[in-house]
Amino acid sequence: MSTTPFLVLSALLFSIGAIGVLVRRNAIVVFMCIELMLNASNLAFVTFARQNGNLDGQIAAFFVMVVAAAEVVVGLAIIVTIYRTRRSASVDDASLLKY
C-alpha cells in the first residue's frame, strides 16, 4: 500500500492538534493537543520507516515517545503547581511573566 494516505492523515492530525493548541484555554487540553501533534509526527516517522525499508524511523518514534512521556510528567507537575497557587488551569490566568 502506498504511504501517501498515512502521511496525509498524519498531516491532518498535526494540523488539528495545532488548532487545538491555539484555540483552547484549558492548560490540560492544550497539553493533550500537543500530545496529538507528537503522535501525528510519530505516524509520519513509522510511515517513512516503511517507505525507506529501514528501522531508523521507528527508533525516532521511540525516542519521541520517551521525550513526550518526560514532557508530560514535568508539564502536568507545572500545571498542578500553578493550579495550587492560582486555583485555575486556564492558560490566560498565568500571564504574570508578561509584565
Partner: protein, 261 residues
Amino acid sequence: MIVFWVLAPIMVICAVGMVAVRNAVHSAVLLAVVMVSLAIMYAVQDAPFLFAVQIIVYTGAVLMLFLFVLMLVGVDSADSLVETLRGQRAAAGVAGVLLAILLILGITQSTFGAVVGLSKANLAGNVPGLAQLLFSRYVFAFEVTSALLITAALGAMVLAHRERFTPKPTQRDLVLQRMREYASDGIHPGPLPTSGTFARHNSVDTPALLPDGAISQLSISRVMRARGTIRQVVPPQIVSADPRTGQSVPGEPAQIDGGEQ
C-alpha cells in the same frame, strides 16, 4: 488497507471532537480513541514493538496521568469562551486549515518512489532489529534519554513537593485544640453522630435520630443537605407512658419496641 480507511475517519473525527468538546474529560477519552487507533496503524505498518509501546505508554500511562491531573485540578473547570484576543479563534482556525492544506499539498505533490517495505529489515524480528539499532548506532541517544527521564522524575517530584510553612500538628496538638474549642465554643469534642440506623435504611442520607425523636443535623453531610438529597425520616411516635405506672396508654400505637405490649 481496509484498516486504514476504517480507522482514519474515526481518528480525524475524534481529533476534531477533542478540540471542539468543552469538557476536558471528554477530550481525554476522545484522545484515547485516537491513540489506540494510531497503535493499530503502527501494527499495520510492520511496527509491532511501537504498537505495544503506544498502547502501554500513551493510552496506559500518559492518558491515565492526564485524567489523574484532571481529577486533581477539578473536572468542572470548563473552558472559558471569552476571547482575550479578538478574532484569535478564527485566525487560529484559518492558520490551522492553511497549515493542513500546505502539508497535504506538499505530501501529495512529492514522489517517494516505490515502497521498500520492512520485510527485509524485520527479517530477524522487529524487536531484535530495533534493539540492534538502539544499542549500536543510537546508544548515546539512549543513554541521554535515561538522564532525561531521571531529570524529569526529579523535576516532577520537586514541583509537586509542597513546602510546609507550619509544623505538622501532632495528635496531642489536635486533642488540645479540640478541648480548647469545647471550652470556648462548646463544640462537642467527640466524633460526629453517624447516619441513622433503621430497619430499612442505614445509608448516609438517612439522618440519625436523637433520643427525643428529633433529627440530628450533625449526622448528615453538609453537601447532601445543600443538594437536598436527604431521605425523609418520619420520626417514630414516642409511646406516651403513664408516668405513675410506667404502662403505655392503651390505644396508642407502640412503634418503638415493635408493638410488643
